[in-house]
């Protein structure tokens, strides 16, 4: 089958899988970013939770595929089995950078804010989070790049994504879906990376390059 014929026949499927992939990414990333920031704030604010940080570091080093595999006995295959491990992996860098970023906000900024009468919440939202934003965004970038490519792996546990095309290519010994699937995945990864870098630069400019 020529590339042209492949497109004519499977075009709809390619579009559907691409949209699936993007949706899956957006859901996993939004949830990871939100939970990561919230948990990062909690760890920063509530001292007793700091013991979690080393655990986070260890979890961080477990390969995604291992987490996906480990999840199967508990969560089965399908969306839950895919999203939960992805989420866990996606949260970690955001959480780590949020807690770290908040900790590195210059003490004189916190003192100025407190001294002129901000409450703890005002301090957090008006000074600490905006100051730590470049670092938090850097964590989100790591998380986003990881998620957008790891989502291809979820095809192994029956979740439709661009990974499905890659698997098809492998099982049918057909280079067309292989090229399309991996090419689009790579393209998405590059795109996500560029968007995140853009946001990060903008935030860095605002804070003058330091938290």
């Amino acid at each position: 089958m020529s590339f042209q014929q492949y497109f004519d026949i499977f075009g709809d499927q390619i579009i559907r899988l691409t949209i699936r992939h993007i949706l899956l990414f957006l859901i996993a990333f939004a949830a990871a970013a939100l939970l990561g920031v919230v948990m990062g704030i909690a760890i920063y604010r509530v001292r007793v939770l700091r013991f979690l940080l080393p655990i986070v570091n260890i979890l961080q080093t477990v390969p995604e595929i291992v987490l996906l595999a480990l999840a199967i006995p508990f969560l089965g295959i399908g969306y839950t089995g895919a999203l939960v491990p992805l989420l866990v992996k996606g949260i970690l860098p955001v959480l780590q950078n949020t807690a770290g970023g908040l900790q590195s906000v210059r003490p004189e900024l916190k003192e100025a804010a407190t001294g002129i009468g901000m409450s703890k919440a005002q301090l957090l939202f008006r000074v600490e989070l905006p100051s730590a934003l470049p670092i938090i965004l850097a964590g989100m970038r790591i998380s986003a790049i990881m998620l957008v490519s790891v989502i291809t792996l979820t095809a192994y546990i029956g979740v439709e994504s661009l990974g499905t095309l890659i698997l098809q290519g492998i099982s049918r010994m057909d280079s067309n879906p292989l090229i399309v699937g991996s090419g689009l995945s790579a393209l998405l990864a590059v795109l996500v990376n560029q968007i995140m870098i853009f946001l990060e630069r903008r935030a860095l400019r605002r804070t003058g390059g330091r938290p």
């Binding site: 004189e108 003192e111 100025a112 002129i116 804070t207 003058g208 330091r210």
Partner: protein
């Protein structure tokens, strides 16, 4: 006796795991319209004393009153919002524009937008930063002196009756420093606040303050007017603070005749025109006079007023 704007009543602060108290039983009253300078060597407790006023640090013993009320009984956030605070390292928020930095406290107090905009422009004018040019700039694009000005404007935003300044002009070149000092003098003339300014610099203290409080190892070793500090240092330590001061040296080198103004001041104590301003200073303090008659400076009778002398001293 009128209620002091700020009153320290035997205040002590011991930090955990330290041998000596950072602040040791200090008593201090600061009135409205008065500028008081806290001066002393690094680590003597100046910043600690200042931060106890806005409760960034809590005293271990003793109490602090603001307008006659124990600050522990005042709501913390509204206390802080009523005290203008210029911190030791400026502490402007880099992610906010100049205008947003100045507007922080008005926003906390829920002022409406129009009022905030008006106030921000007014303050920028006051510290000589043209609003159209500076409103939307970011602190990190400003020079050190401009940042300090914004810091002062931010502290004055809601026109607090009390202004706390911790080495506000510490890191500036002498010219910028002098011009900012002049602005503080100007602001104080107009607004009559109670100002506490921490400084390392005796010249700055003499220039700005009505009273100088010299601290050493957590205690107050002298609390007096600038002239008394200069001329009757209570301890060798106070004298050592003056030791390398250019001011006394300058006064010793300037001639009374060059600074007197024409006029008649018969009956006032007299000095020859060739006497130094330092002699004049001594004479002022010995006699308590406000004017000195200057002899022999040519045909015209001439006088030197006490405030003239101090403005020269401040200039040094």
């Amino acid at each position: 006796m009128t209620t002091a704007a700020i009153e320290f009543k035997s205040v002590t602060k011991r930090f955990p795991k330290t041998d000596h108290p950072a602040v040791d039983r200090i008593d201090l009253r600061i009135h409205r319209g008065e500028t008081v300078a806290l001066i002393g060597a690094s680590g003597c407790g100046k910043t600690t004393s200042l931060k106890m006023i806005n409760r960034l640090i809590e005293p271990t013993e003793g109490s602090i009153l603001v307008n006659g009320q124990d600050i522990r009984h005042l709501p913390l956030l509204s206390l802080r919002r009523s005290l203008g605070y210029v911190i030791q390292h400026v502490g402007l928020f880099p992610h906010m524009t100049v205008a947003a930095n100045i507007a922080v406290v008005p926003k906390l107090l829920n002022w409406d937008k129009a009022r905030i905009t008006r106030r921000v422009d007014e303050l920028l004018e006051m510290v000589h930063l043209p609003p159209a040019e500076f409103r939307d700039r970011r602190p990190l694009d400003l020079s050190g002196g401009q940042q300090q000005r914004v810091g002062v404007a931010r502290a004055l935003a809601v026109d607090p009756p009390i202004l706390l300044m911790d080495e506000p002009f510490g890191a500036l070149d002498p010219i910028t420093r002098t011009s900012l000092q002049n602005e503080i003098l100007d602001i104080q003339r107009k607004l009559r606040k109670a100002i506490v300014i921490v400084t390392h610099d005796m010249e700055e203290a003499v220039r700005l303050a009505d009273r100088i409080v010299v601290m050493q190892a957590g205690g107050i070793v002298m609390d007096a007017s600038p002239s008394d500090i200069l001329l009757k240092p209570a301890t060798p330590f106070v004298a050592s603070l003056l030791g390398d001061s250019r001011m006394i040296k300058l006064l010793q080198t300037l001639k009374v005749g060059d600074h007197a103004t024409a006029g008649n001041c018969g009956g006032a104590p007299e000095l020859p025109a060739s006497a130094s301003l330092h002699d004049a200073l001594n004479l002022f303090l010995e006699t308590g006079a406000d004017t000195i008659a200057v002899r022999g400076g040519g045909a015209m009778a001439a006088c030197l007023r006490r405030d003239q002398l101090f403005s020269i001293a401040g200039e040094a």
